[in-house]
Subunit: 202 residues, 2 copies
DNA sequence: TCTAAATTGATAGTGTCTCTCGTATTAGAG
DNA sequence: CTCTAATACGAGAGACACTATCAATTTAGA
């Protein structure tokens, strides 16, 4: 799912993609070996054989190396394809399942690692809110499209907020549960959406 | 509501509280005058007449000067006092109203300023997720207490997540709405909770 | 092949935040 | 009131993320 569109046209584009992949790969490896904070940008740049300045040309911050979430893009694409008779939450739940099932082994591994870092490292966990906000907007837009409403509609936005909220509560580490298993994370998200669909009964 | 318990015992404690207040006051003033990023810790320290090192003794990061939210503490206290026959969401809504009404002029002003900064400055907005997570846990605990359930209960946590989610969607800046008015923010939160209470109908 | 644009590295910063150590201030006991 | 043990403070050095500039190299397209 992270793959580039087969033939990225020019040689220049392919080189850029390769550089980007190399930086991310070495960064994730170093994070895993030494920890996030203990790894400097200079080390990553050295390992990827670029200059530190180049690192920042590809990733605006050190955190952004981790915060590449193609998953929501795939989910949103699947959401568009869901039958219109499904309720928004049900459609979203089905789309999330499809997205999970479409992941390759490599995707799973990378997803597991980035998820672990997102939950573990405070700096990255903080940045995740930005992603959540962005994702909320996209979900709201998708719901609006499905229901023929305006994306600015208060009810639509509120529903999108609730969806993100329950996913967040299901994903964030509560106690010391180190559930980094991708399948388990998906299961928790599924449960949360099912519960929301039922009206959040206690 | 930010006031210290009348008599903070020793002279040393009072001095510390005064230093802390001075730092925060000058910091917020400078942020308002020059903007957040344009204000350095050194300037704040100079204005508060302490050394930069001392600044970091009181606030672990520059962002933490803004992220002092006594509001949720007051809300939670009010939540405990709500009659048990109210549903969790209704009780929370009533508690939020009480908390807003109990704020003094100074509290309102400071709350407005910190809210503005929280919404405007990316760095602070990012850090807010940590606060949200913490708040979610506290809300879950309160709901659990009200309903005689366990705080680890999945349904309880999920409901707390939904509450935080709709508040987030109602509070976060969507378009270019600069609604920093405290009363308006409260109104949006109230609307969101009402909508959640009704089952999020479209 | 030639030219313009894009990518890169090198360098020199700025600012947040940490650590250490010597000094000064306070709390509590005698 | 005095002495002593904590505790807060300032000063300085330094690590590291990140920015800006400029020259050199590489590529795209004619």
């Amino acid at each position: 799912m992270t793959e580039v569109p087969a033939r990225p046209a020019g040689l220049r584009e392919r080189k850029k993609a390769k550089t980007r992949a190399a930086i991310r790969e070495h960064a994730l490896r170093l994070f895993q070996q030494q920890g996030y904070a203990a790894t400097t940008v200079e080390q990553i740049a050295d390992a990827a054989e670029v200059s530190p300045a180049t690192f920042f040309r590809y990733f605006p911050t050190k955190e952004d190396v981790v915060l590449q979430d193609d998953f929501d893009i795939v989910t949103l694409a699947a959401l568009e394809a869901q039958p219109p008779e499904l309720s928004p939450v049900a459609a979203f739940r089905a789309a999330a399942m499809e997205a999970f099932n479409s992941m390759s082994e490599d995707d799973m591994a990378r997803f597991a690692e980035t998820t672990r870092l997102t939950l573990d490292v405070p700096e990255i966990r903080a940045r995740a809110l930005e992603e959540l906000r962005r994702t909320t907007e996209v979900i709201a837009a998708a719901i609006a499209r499905r229901t023929g409403r305006n994306a600015d509609d208060f009810a639509v936005r509120n529903l999108a907020g609730a969806i993100i909220g329950v996913i967040m509560s299901a994903t964030m580490p509560w106690q010391a549960e180190f559930g980094t298993d991708v399948a388990e994370i998906y299961h928790r998200i599924d449960q949360a959406l099912t519960h929301l669909e039922a009206g959040l009964p206690l």
